[in-house]
Protein backbone atom coordinates (compact mmCIF):
# COMPACT_ATOMS: atom_id res chain seq x y z
CA UNK A 1 0.00 0.00 0.00
CA UNK A 2 2.77 2.40 0.93
CA UNK A 3 4.35 1.57 -2.41
CA UNK A 4 1.26 2.65 -4.22
CA UNK A 5 0.90 5.88 -2.27
CA UNK A 6 4.58 6.62 -2.86
CA UNK A 7 4.11 5.98 -6.58
CA UNK A 8 1.11 8.30 -6.69
CA UNK A 9 3.05 11.04 -4.90
CA UNK A 10 5.98 10.65 -7.27
CA UNK A 11 3.55 10.57 -10.16
CA UNK A 12 1.94 13.85 -9.19
CA UNK A 13 5.37 15.46 -8.82
CA UNK A 14 6.50 14.11 -12.21
CA UNK A 15 3.16 15.07 -13.71
CA UNK A 16 3.58 18.67 -12.59
CA UNK A 17 6.84 18.77 -14.58
CA UNK A 18 5.27 17.20 -17.66
CA UNK A 19 2.38 19.66 -17.40
CA UNK A 20 4.43 22.76 -18.19
CA UNK A 21 5.64 21.75 -21.68
CA UNK A 22 2.28 20.03 -22.27
CA UNK A 23 0.53 23.36 -21.71
CA UNK A 24 2.95 24.93 -24.19
CA UNK A 25 2.34 22.23 -26.80
CA UNK A 26 -1.41 22.42 -26.44
CA UNK A 27 -1.51 26.25 -26.46
CA UNK A 28 0.41 26.32 -29.73
CA UNK A 29 -1.94 23.69 -31.14
CA UNK A 30 -5.01 25.63 -29.99
CA UNK A 31 -4.02 28.76 -31.89
CA UNK A 32 -1.82 27.56 -34.77
CA UNK A 33 -3.32 24.10 -35.30
CA UNK A 34 -0.09 22.15 -35.56
CA UNK A 35 1.74 19.86 -33.15
CA UNK A 36 5.20 21.21 -32.43
CA UNK A 37 7.44 18.17 -32.06
CA UNK A 38 10.44 20.44 -31.53
CA UNK A 39 9.30 20.90 -27.94
CA UNK A 40 11.55 18.03 -26.80
CA UNK A 41 14.78 19.71 -27.91
CA UNK A 42 13.35 23.12 -26.99
CA UNK A 43 12.94 21.82 -23.44
CA UNK A 44 16.60 20.78 -23.56
CA UNK A 45 17.52 24.29 -24.71
CA UNK A 46 15.65 25.59 -21.66
CA UNK A 47 17.53 23.22 -19.40
CA UNK A 48 20.91 24.30 -20.81
CA UNK A 49 19.98 27.99 -20.68
CA UNK A 50 19.06 27.66 -17.01
CA UNK A 51 22.16 25.56 -16.34
CA UNK A 52 24.50 28.12 -17.93
CA UNK A 53 22.87 30.92 -15.93
CA UNK A 54 22.95 28.93 -12.69
CA UNK A 55 26.21 27.03 -12.93
CA UNK A 56 28.40 29.45 -14.91
CA UNK A 57 26.96 32.77 -13.79
CA UNK A 58 25.70 31.80 -10.37
CA UNK A 59 22.10 32.90 -10.83
CA UNK A 60 19.64 31.55 -8.26
CA UNK A 61 16.95 29.15 -9.40
CA UNK A 62 14.06 31.54 -10.04
CA UNK A 63 15.96 34.09 -12.15
CA UNK A 64 17.54 31.20 -14.04
CA UNK A 65 14.03 29.90 -14.80
CA UNK A 66 12.99 33.32 -16.07
CA UNK A 67 16.12 33.45 -18.23
CA UNK A 68 15.29 30.02 -19.58
CA UNK A 69 11.77 31.18 -20.49
CA UNK A 70 13.03 34.22 -22.36
CA UNK A 71 15.81 32.34 -24.17
CA UNK A 72 13.61 29.52 -25.39
CA UNK A 73 10.75 31.89 -26.30
CA UNK A 74 13.26 33.75 -28.50
CA UNK A 75 14.45 30.49 -30.09
CA UNK A 76 10.85 29.38 -30.58
CA UNK A 77 9.91 32.65 -32.25
CA UNK A 78 12.98 32.56 -34.49
CA UNK A 79 12.17 28.99 -35.57
CA UNK A 80 8.55 29.91 -36.20
CA UNK A 81 9.42 32.95 -38.31
CA UNK A 82 12.32 31.42 -40.18
CA UNK A 83 10.86 28.01 -40.95
CA UNK A 84 7.48 26.89 -39.67
CA UNK A 85 5.39 29.94 -40.59
CA UNK A 86 6.51 29.69 -44.21
CA UNK A 87 5.30 26.11 -44.41
CA UNK A 88 1.86 26.80 -42.97
CA UNK A 89 0.17 27.02 -46.39
CA UNK A 90 1.27 23.41 -47.03
CA UNK A 91 -0.74 22.17 -44.07
CA UNK A 92 -0.41 21.14 -40.45
CA UNK A 93 1.28 17.82 -41.21
CA UNK A 94 4.09 19.52 -43.14
CA UNK A 95 4.64 21.96 -40.28
CA UNK A 96 4.66 19.15 -37.73
CA UNK A 97 7.23 17.20 -39.75
CA UNK A 98 9.35 20.32 -40.19
CA UNK A 99 9.25 20.78 -36.42
CA UNK A 100 10.81 17.33 -36.03
CA UNK A 101 13.63 18.42 -38.35
CA UNK A 102 14.07 21.63 -36.39
CA UNK A 103 14.25 19.57 -33.22
CA UNK A 104 17.03 17.39 -34.63
CA UNK A 105 19.01 20.50 -35.60
CA UNK A 106 18.59 22.05 -32.15
CA UNK A 107 19.63 18.83 -30.46
CA UNK A 108 22.81 18.65 -32.52
CA UNK A 109 23.65 22.28 -31.93
CA UNK A 110 23.43 21.55 -28.20
CA UNK A 111 25.55 18.43 -28.54
CA UNK A 112 28.16 20.39 -30.51
CA UNK A 113 28.21 23.22 -27.95
CA UNK A 114 28.05 21.27 -24.71
CA UNK A 115 29.11 17.70 -25.50
CA UNK A 116 27.26 14.61 -24.39
CA UNK A 117 28.23 14.78 -20.71
CA UNK A 118 25.69 14.79 -17.94
CA UNK A 119 25.54 18.10 -16.16
CA UNK A 120 23.97 19.01 -12.84
CA UNK A 121 22.83 22.30 -11.42
CA UNK A 122 24.63 24.00 -8.59
CA UNK A 123 22.12 23.34 -5.85
CA UNK A 124 22.44 22.80 -2.12
CA UNK A 125 22.07 19.13 -1.29
CA UNK A 126 19.06 18.42 0.85
CA UNK A 127 17.98 15.31 2.62
CA UNK A 128 14.67 13.67 1.68
CA UNK A 129 11.82 14.09 4.09
CA UNK A 130 10.41 10.89 5.47
CA UNK A 131 7.07 10.35 7.08
CA UNK A 132 4.77 7.34 7.47
CA UNK A 133 7.22 5.32 5.46
CA UNK A 134 6.98 7.76 2.53
CA UNK A 135 9.76 9.81 1.01
CA UNK A 136 9.68 13.21 -0.67
CA UNK A 137 12.68 15.22 -1.85
CA UNK A 138 12.67 18.94 -1.01
CA UNK A 139 14.11 19.62 -4.46
CA UNK A 140 11.25 17.73 -6.08
CA UNK A 141 8.79 19.72 -4.02
CA UNK A 142 10.41 22.97 -5.03
CA UNK A 143 10.28 22.16 -8.73
CA UNK A 144 6.69 20.97 -8.41
CA UNK A 145 5.90 24.19 -6.53
CA UNK A 146 7.38 26.30 -9.31
CA UNK A 147 5.42 24.26 -11.84
CA UNK A 148 2.16 24.76 -9.96
CA UNK A 149 2.81 28.49 -9.64
CA UNK A 150 3.41 28.68 -13.39
CA UNK A 151 0.20 26.80 -14.11
CA UNK A 152 -1.72 29.20 -11.88
CA UNK A 153 -0.06 32.11 -13.66
CA UNK A 154 -1.00 30.81 -17.11
CA UNK A 155 -4.58 30.11 -16.01
CA UNK A 156 -4.93 33.59 -14.50
CA UNK A 157 -3.44 35.16 -17.63
CA UNK A 158 -5.84 33.35 -19.95
CA UNK A 159 -8.86 33.85 -17.74
CA UNK A 160 -8.47 37.36 -16.40
CA UNK A 161 -6.38 39.47 -18.75
CA UNK A 162 -7.68 41.02 -21.91
CA UNK A 163 -4.75 39.64 -23.90
CA UNK A 164 -5.34 36.16 -22.54
CA UNK A 165 -8.99 36.34 -23.52
CA UNK A 166 -7.98 37.52 -26.98
CA UNK A 167 -5.72 34.46 -27.27
CA UNK A 168 -8.66 32.20 -26.42
CA UNK A 169 -10.83 34.11 -28.89
CA UNK A 170 -8.31 33.63 -31.70
CA UNK A 171 -8.01 29.94 -30.83
CA UNK A 172 -11.81 29.70 -31.00
CA UNK A 173 -12.47 31.63 -34.21
CA UNK A 174 -9.78 33.72 -35.94
CA UNK A 175 -12.14 35.30 -38.49
CA UNK A 176 -14.52 36.51 -35.81
CA UNK A 177 -11.52 37.80 -33.86
CA UNK A 178 -10.48 39.90 -36.86
CA UNK A 179 -13.96 41.40 -36.99
CA UNK A 180 -13.35 42.62 -33.44
CA UNK A 181 -10.02 44.27 -34.21
CA UNK A 182 -7.77 41.45 -33.02
CA UNK A 183 -4.74 40.51 -35.13
CA UNK A 184 -4.59 36.69 -35.20
CA UNK A 185 -1.10 36.75 -36.75
CA UNK A 186 0.38 38.74 -33.89
CA UNK A 187 -1.51 36.78 -31.27
CA UNK A 188 -0.23 33.55 -32.83
CA UNK A 189 3.35 34.80 -32.39
CA UNK A 190 2.65 35.68 -28.76
CA UNK A 191 1.28 32.16 -28.32
CA UNK A 192 4.43 30.64 -29.83
CA UNK A 193 6.52 32.70 -27.41
CA UNK A 194 4.39 31.64 -24.46
CA UNK A 195 4.24 27.99 -25.52
CA UNK A 196 7.93 27.57 -26.24
CA UNK A 197 8.90 29.65 -23.20
CA UNK A 198 6.87 27.31 -20.99
CA UNK A 199 8.53 24.37 -22.68
CA UNK A 200 11.93 25.85 -21.83
CA UNK A 201 11.02 26.21 -18.17
CA UNK A 202 9.66 22.67 -18.20
CA UNK A 203 13.03 21.44 -19.42
CA UNK A 204 14.86 23.51 -16.84
CA UNK A 205 12.70 22.17 -14.00
CA UNK A 206 13.40 18.66 -15.20
CA UNK A 207 17.10 19.49 -15.06
CA UNK A 208 16.81 20.70 -11.48
CA UNK A 209 15.26 17.40 -10.55
CA UNK A 210 17.87 15.22 -12.19
CA UNK A 211 20.77 16.01 -14.51
CA UNK A 212 20.76 17.22 -18.09
CA UNK A 213 22.29 16.09 -21.36
CA UNK A 214 21.45 17.00 -24.99
CA UNK A 215 18.79 14.29 -25.09
CA UNK A 216 16.97 14.97 -21.82
CA UNK A 217 14.20 17.03 -23.41
CA UNK A 218 13.64 14.54 -26.18
CA UNK A 219 12.95 11.85 -23.60
CA UNK A 220 10.22 14.17 -22.33
CA UNK A 221 8.49 14.46 -25.69
CA UNK A 222 6.52 11.24 -25.47
CA UNK A 223 4.90 11.79 -22.05
CA UNK A 224 4.29 15.46 -22.90
CA UNK A 225 2.58 14.65 -26.17
CA UNK A 226 0.63 11.86 -24.49
CA UNK A 227 -0.53 14.27 -21.77
CA UNK A 228 -1.74 16.82 -24.33
CA UNK A 229 -3.53 14.15 -26.37
CA UNK A 230 -5.09 12.63 -23.26
CA UNK A 231 -6.40 16.01 -22.13
CA UNK A 232 -7.63 16.86 -25.62
CA UNK A 233 -5.24 18.76 -27.90
CA UNK A 234 -5.93 22.47 -27.53
CA UNK A 235 -7.25 22.31 -23.98
CA UNK A 236 -4.95 23.84 -21.34
CA UNK A 237 -6.73 22.40 -18.28
CA UNK A 238 -6.84 19.11 -20.17
CA UNK A 239 -3.07 19.18 -20.65
CA UNK A 240 -2.53 19.64 -16.92
CA UNK A 241 -4.93 16.85 -15.99
CA UNK A 242 -3.44 14.63 -18.69
CA UNK A 243 0.08 15.30 -17.39
CA UNK A 244 -0.83 14.35 -13.82
CA UNK A 245 -2.50 11.15 -15.04
CA UNK A 246 0.48 10.25 -17.24
CA UNK A 247 2.86 10.98 -14.35
CA UNK A 248 0.90 8.73 -12.00
CA UNK A 249 0.55 6.06 -14.69
CA UNK A 250 4.28 6.02 -15.33
CA UNK A 251 5.17 5.75 -11.65
CA UNK A 252 2.58 3.05 -10.99
CA UNK A 253 3.84 1.09 -13.98
CA UNK A 254 7.25 0.92 -12.29
CA UNK A 255 5.68 -1.31 -9.66
CA UNK A 256 4.89 -4.00 -12.21
CA UNK A 257 7.19 -3.52 -15.22
CA UNK A 258 10.90 -2.70 -15.56
CA UNK A 259 11.82 0.99 -15.72
CA UNK A 260 12.97 0.72 -19.33
CA UNK A 261 9.37 0.17 -20.38
CA UNK A 262 8.10 3.20 -18.53
CA UNK A 263 7.66 5.14 -21.77
CA UNK A 264 5.23 2.44 -22.92
CA UNK A 265 2.62 4.27 -20.81
CA UNK A 266 2.86 7.30 -23.06
CA UNK A 267 2.70 5.21 -26.24
CA UNK A 268 -0.22 3.19 -24.98
CA UNK A 269 -2.12 6.29 -23.89
CA UNK A 270 -1.69 7.96 -27.28
CA UNK A 271 -2.77 4.78 -29.04
CA UNK A 272 -5.84 4.24 -26.87
CA UNK A 273 -6.97 7.86 -26.83
CA UNK A 274 -6.59 8.32 -30.58
CA UNK A 275 -8.44 5.06 -31.22
CA UNK A 276 -11.33 5.48 -28.83
CA UNK A 277 -11.60 9.11 -27.81
CA UNK A 278 -9.74 11.30 -30.32
CA UNK A 279 -11.04 14.43 -28.60
CA UNK A 280 -9.27 13.42 -25.39
CA UNK A 281 -10.83 13.06 -21.96
CA UNK A 282 -11.98 16.66 -21.74
CA UNK A 283 -11.54 17.93 -25.30
CA UNK A 284 -14.40 19.62 -27.05
CA UNK A 285 -12.58 19.69 -30.33
CA UNK A 286 -12.71 16.08 -31.32
CA UNK A 287 -10.36 15.66 -34.26
Amino acid sequence: MTDIIQAVINGVLTGALIAIPAMGLTAIFAVLRYVNFAIGPLATCGAFAAWVLNFRYGWPVLPAMAGSFVTVAAIGLAVEQAALARLRPSGALTVAIASIAVGIILENVLRFSFGNDLRAFDLPLMRDWRFWGLRVGPQQLQTAGIAVAMMAGVFAFLRFTRYGKAMRAVADNPDLARLFRMEPGRIAMATVALGTGLTGVGGALLGLDSAIDPMSGSRLLLPVFAAAVLGGLGSIPGAVAGAILIGIGEELSLLVIPATYRSAIGFLTILLVLSFRPGGLFGERAA
Binding site: R162, K165, A166, R168, A169, A171, D172, N173, D175, L176, A177, R178, L179, F180, R181, M182, E183, E284
Partner: protein, 233 residues
Protein backbone atom coordinates in the same frame (compact mmCIF):
# COMPACT_ATOMS: atom_id res chain seq x y z
CA UNK B 1 -22.52 55.76 -46.29
CA UNK B 2 -21.45 52.49 -47.89
CA UNK B 3 -20.55 52.28 -51.57
CA UNK B 4 -19.65 48.98 -53.18
CA UNK B 5 -18.66 49.21 -56.80
CA UNK B 6 -17.93 46.47 -59.34
CA UNK B 7 -16.77 43.89 -56.81
CA UNK B 8 -15.12 40.80 -58.19
CA UNK B 9 -14.10 38.26 -55.56
CA UNK B 10 -14.03 34.59 -54.66
CA UNK B 11 -12.04 31.87 -52.96
CA UNK B 12 -8.90 29.97 -53.88
CA UNK B 13 -10.99 27.08 -55.17
CA UNK B 14 -13.58 29.29 -56.93
CA UNK B 15 -12.07 32.59 -57.97
CA UNK B 16 -15.13 34.33 -59.39
CA UNK B 17 -18.08 34.02 -57.03
CA UNK B 18 -18.90 37.74 -57.28
CA UNK B 19 -18.78 38.95 -60.87
CA UNK B 20 -18.95 42.71 -60.55
CA UNK B 21 -21.48 43.52 -57.82
CA UNK B 22 -22.49 47.06 -56.88
CA UNK B 23 -24.63 48.12 -53.92
CA UNK B 24 -24.88 51.24 -51.79
CA UNK B 25 -26.43 52.16 -48.47
CA UNK B 26 -27.28 55.75 -47.59
CA UNK B 27 -27.15 57.15 -44.02
CA UNK B 28 -29.98 55.79 -41.89
CA UNK B 29 -31.10 53.24 -44.48
CA UNK B 30 -32.04 49.61 -43.98
CA UNK B 31 -31.18 47.82 -47.22
CA UNK B 32 -31.97 44.15 -47.78
CA UNK B 33 -30.06 41.84 -50.06
CA UNK B 34 -31.89 38.72 -51.24
CA UNK B 35 -31.13 35.93 -53.66
CA UNK B 36 -31.14 32.16 -54.07
CA UNK B 37 -28.82 29.86 -52.14
CA UNK B 38 -25.24 30.13 -53.34
CA UNK B 39 -25.84 33.48 -55.06
CA UNK B 40 -22.86 34.97 -53.21
CA UNK B 41 -24.69 37.06 -50.59
CA UNK B 42 -22.50 35.92 -47.71
CA UNK B 43 -19.43 36.30 -49.89
CA UNK B 44 -20.40 39.89 -50.61
CA UNK B 45 -20.68 40.73 -46.91
CA UNK B 46 -17.35 38.97 -46.25
CA UNK B 47 -15.67 41.10 -48.90
CA UNK B 48 -17.27 44.27 -47.56
CA UNK B 49 -16.11 43.45 -44.01
CA UNK B 50 -12.60 42.58 -45.19
CA UNK B 51 -12.61 38.86 -44.38
CA UNK B 52 -12.29 37.97 -48.08
CA UNK B 53 -10.13 40.18 -50.34
CA UNK B 54 -11.56 41.87 -53.44
CA UNK B 55 -9.92 41.11 -56.78
CA UNK B 56 -11.49 44.08 -58.48
CA UNK B 57 -13.76 46.92 -57.48
CA UNK B 58 -14.02 49.24 -54.51
CA UNK B 59 -15.51 49.40 -51.03
CA UNK B 60 -15.97 52.87 -49.53
CA UNK B 61 -17.18 53.73 -46.06
CA UNK B 62 -18.21 57.34 -45.50
CA UNK B 63 -16.25 58.33 -48.61
CA UNK B 64 -12.98 56.65 -47.54
CA UNK B 65 -11.71 53.81 -49.71
CA UNK B 66 -11.14 50.78 -47.47
CA UNK B 67 -10.69 48.20 -50.25
CA UNK B 68 -7.04 47.50 -49.35
CA UNK B 69 -7.65 47.28 -45.60
CA UNK B 70 -7.91 44.06 -43.63
CA UNK B 71 -10.86 43.09 -41.45
CA UNK B 72 -9.36 44.38 -38.19
CA UNK B 73 -8.63 47.75 -39.75
CA UNK B 74 -12.12 47.99 -41.23
CA UNK B 75 -13.61 47.15 -37.85
CA UNK B 76 -11.70 50.12 -36.47
CA UNK B 77 -13.06 52.22 -39.34
CA UNK B 78 -16.61 51.47 -38.18
CA UNK B 79 -17.85 48.25 -39.77
CA UNK B 80 -19.62 45.65 -37.68
CA UNK B 81 -20.50 42.32 -39.27
CA UNK B 82 -22.78 39.67 -37.77
CA UNK B 83 -21.84 36.55 -39.71
CA UNK B 84 -24.26 33.85 -40.79
CA UNK B 85 -22.43 31.15 -38.84
CA UNK B 86 -20.01 30.96 -35.93
CA UNK B 87 -20.71 34.57 -34.97
CA UNK B 88 -19.90 34.31 -31.25
CA UNK B 89 -16.87 32.89 -29.42
CA UNK B 90 -18.42 29.61 -28.28
CA UNK B 91 -15.71 28.71 -25.76
CA UNK B 92 -15.91 32.08 -24.02
CA UNK B 93 -18.65 33.26 -21.68
CA UNK B 94 -21.31 35.77 -22.70
CA UNK B 95 -19.62 38.40 -20.53
CA UNK B 96 -16.23 37.72 -22.14
CA UNK B 97 -17.71 37.91 -25.63
CA UNK B 98 -19.10 41.36 -24.89
CA UNK B 99 -15.86 42.46 -23.25
CA UNK B 100 -13.76 41.52 -26.27
CA UNK B 101 -16.17 43.33 -28.56
CA UNK B 102 -15.65 46.61 -26.68
CA UNK B 103 -13.15 48.79 -28.54
CA UNK B 104 -12.62 51.51 -25.94
CA UNK B 105 -10.61 51.81 -22.73
CA UNK B 106 -11.32 48.98 -20.30
CA UNK B 107 -12.51 51.38 -17.58
CA UNK B 108 -15.69 52.06 -19.52
CA UNK B 109 -16.24 48.49 -20.65
CA UNK B 110 -18.24 47.36 -17.61
CA UNK B 111 -20.53 50.35 -17.94
CA UNK B 112 -21.19 49.70 -21.65
CA UNK B 113 -21.72 46.04 -20.99
CA UNK B 114 -24.18 46.81 -18.20
CA UNK B 115 -26.07 49.00 -20.65
CA UNK B 116 -26.18 46.10 -23.10
CA UNK B 117 -27.46 43.79 -20.32
CA UNK B 118 -30.19 46.33 -19.63
CA UNK B 119 -31.17 46.35 -23.27
CA UNK B 120 -31.11 42.56 -23.68
CA UNK B 121 -31.91 41.05 -20.26
CA UNK B 122 -31.44 37.51 -21.55
CA UNK B 123 -27.72 38.26 -21.87
CA UNK B 124 -27.57 39.42 -18.25
CA UNK B 125 -29.19 36.17 -17.19
CA UNK B 126 -26.68 34.15 -19.19
CA UNK B 127 -23.61 36.29 -18.55
CA UNK B 128 -21.60 33.43 -17.04
CA UNK B 129 -22.70 30.81 -19.54
CA UNK B 130 -20.42 29.70 -22.36
CA UNK B 131 -21.75 31.18 -25.59
CA UNK B 132 -22.00 27.77 -27.25
CA UNK B 133 -24.61 26.74 -24.69
CA UNK B 134 -27.02 29.50 -25.79
CA UNK B 135 -30.14 28.79 -27.83
CA UNK B 136 -30.20 29.98 -31.45
CA UNK B 137 -32.18 33.10 -30.59
CA UNK B 138 -29.99 33.97 -27.61
CA UNK B 139 -26.88 33.48 -29.70
CA UNK B 140 -28.11 35.87 -32.37
CA UNK B 141 -28.94 38.46 -29.71
CA UNK B 142 -25.42 38.08 -28.31
CA UNK B 143 -23.92 38.45 -31.79
CA UNK B 144 -25.97 41.62 -32.36
CA UNK B 145 -25.02 42.99 -28.95
CA UNK B 146 -21.33 42.36 -29.71
CA UNK B 147 -21.67 44.29 -32.95
CA UNK B 148 -23.37 47.13 -31.09
CA UNK B 149 -20.64 47.24 -28.41
CA UNK B 150 -18.35 48.54 -31.15
CA UNK B 151 -20.61 51.58 -31.76
CA UNK B 152 -20.49 50.88 -35.50
CA UNK B 153 -21.05 53.32 -38.34
CA UNK B 154 -22.34 50.56 -40.57
CA UNK B 155 -23.93 47.25 -39.64
CA UNK B 156 -23.75 44.16 -41.87
CA UNK B 157 -26.17 41.35 -40.98
CA UNK B 158 -26.06 37.92 -42.62
CA UNK B 159 -29.32 36.00 -42.14
CA UNK B 160 -29.84 37.07 -38.54
CA UNK B 161 -33.02 34.98 -38.25
CA UNK B 162 -31.65 31.73 -39.71
CA UNK B 163 -32.82 28.76 -37.66
CA UNK B 164 -34.88 30.86 -35.25
CA UNK B 165 -38.42 30.10 -34.10
CA UNK B 166 -41.15 32.37 -35.49
CA UNK B 167 -41.29 34.17 -32.16
CA UNK B 168 -37.51 34.71 -31.99
CA UNK B 169 -37.56 35.83 -35.64
CA UNK B 170 -40.20 38.40 -34.78
CA UNK B 171 -38.13 39.65 -31.84
CA UNK B 172 -34.99 39.90 -33.93
CA UNK B 173 -36.78 41.90 -36.61
CA UNK B 174 -37.91 44.29 -33.85
CA UNK B 175 -34.29 44.67 -32.75
CA UNK B 176 -33.15 45.41 -36.30
CA UNK B 177 -35.92 47.95 -36.87
CA UNK B 178 -35.08 49.57 -33.53
CA UNK B 179 -31.49 50.05 -34.67
CA UNK B 180 -32.65 51.41 -38.01
CA UNK B 181 -34.82 53.91 -36.12
CA UNK B 182 -31.76 55.02 -34.17
CA UNK B 183 -30.20 55.95 -37.50
CA UNK B 184 -27.75 53.08 -37.91
CA UNK B 185 -27.27 52.18 -41.60
CA UNK B 186 -27.79 48.46 -42.12
CA UNK B 187 -27.11 46.10 -45.02
CA UNK B 188 -28.94 42.85 -44.31
CA UNK B 189 -29.14 39.48 -46.05
CA UNK B 190 -32.39 37.79 -45.12
CA UNK B 191 -34.06 34.51 -45.96
CA UNK B 192 -37.48 35.85 -45.07
CA UNK B 193 -37.09 37.88 -48.24
CA UNK B 194 -40.54 39.38 -48.64
CA UNK B 195 -40.97 40.31 -44.97
CA UNK B 196 -37.55 41.92 -44.93
CA UNK B 197 -38.09 43.85 -48.17
CA UNK B 198 -41.42 45.15 -46.86
CA UNK B 199 -39.66 47.01 -44.05
CA UNK B 200 -36.55 48.05 -46.02
CA UNK B 201 -36.09 51.35 -47.80
CA UNK B 202 -34.41 49.56 -50.68
CA UNK B 203 -33.46 46.10 -51.75
CA UNK B 204 -31.17 44.21 -54.12
CA UNK B 205 -31.58 40.83 -55.73
CA UNK B 206 -28.34 38.96 -56.30
CA UNK B 207 -28.31 35.97 -58.66
CA UNK B 208 -25.15 33.92 -59.31
CA UNK B 209 -22.78 36.69 -58.34
CA UNK B 210 -24.40 39.54 -60.26
CA UNK B 211 -26.96 42.25 -59.59
CA UNK B 212 -30.28 40.96 -60.94
CA UNK B 213 -32.71 43.60 -59.70
CA UNK B 214 -32.93 46.53 -57.33
CA UNK B 215 -35.53 49.00 -56.16
CA UNK B 216 -37.60 50.23 -53.23
CA UNK B 217 -38.11 47.49 -50.65
CA UNK B 218 -41.92 47.30 -50.79
CA UNK B 219 -41.82 47.63 -54.60
CA UNK B 220 -39.52 44.64 -54.90
CA UNK B 221 -41.66 42.71 -52.43
CA UNK B 222 -44.71 43.40 -54.62
CA UNK B 223 -42.98 42.49 -57.89
CA UNK B 224 -44.53 39.29 -59.30
CA UNK B 225 -41.15 38.03 -60.62
CA UNK B 226 -39.61 38.35 -57.20
CA UNK B 227 -42.60 36.87 -55.41
CA UNK B 228 -42.34 33.84 -57.70
CA UNK B 229 -38.60 33.52 -56.98
CA UNK B 230 -39.06 33.65 -53.20
CA UNK B 231 -42.43 32.10 -52.63
CA UNK B 232 -41.45 29.12 -54.75
CA UNK B 233 -44.67 29.59 -56.73
Amino acid sequence: MLEVEGLVAGYASAERILKGVSVHVEPGELVTLVGPNGAGKSTLLKVVSGLVPAREGHVRLGGADVTRQGAAERARAGFAFVMQERNVFGTLTVAENLELAWPGPSRQMAEERARMYGRYPVLAEKRRALARTLSGGQRQILAMAMALMTAPKMLLLDEPTAGLSPKATEELFEVVLGLRDLGLPILMVEQHALEALEVSSRGYVLVSGSNAAEGGGPDLAADPEIRRLFLGG
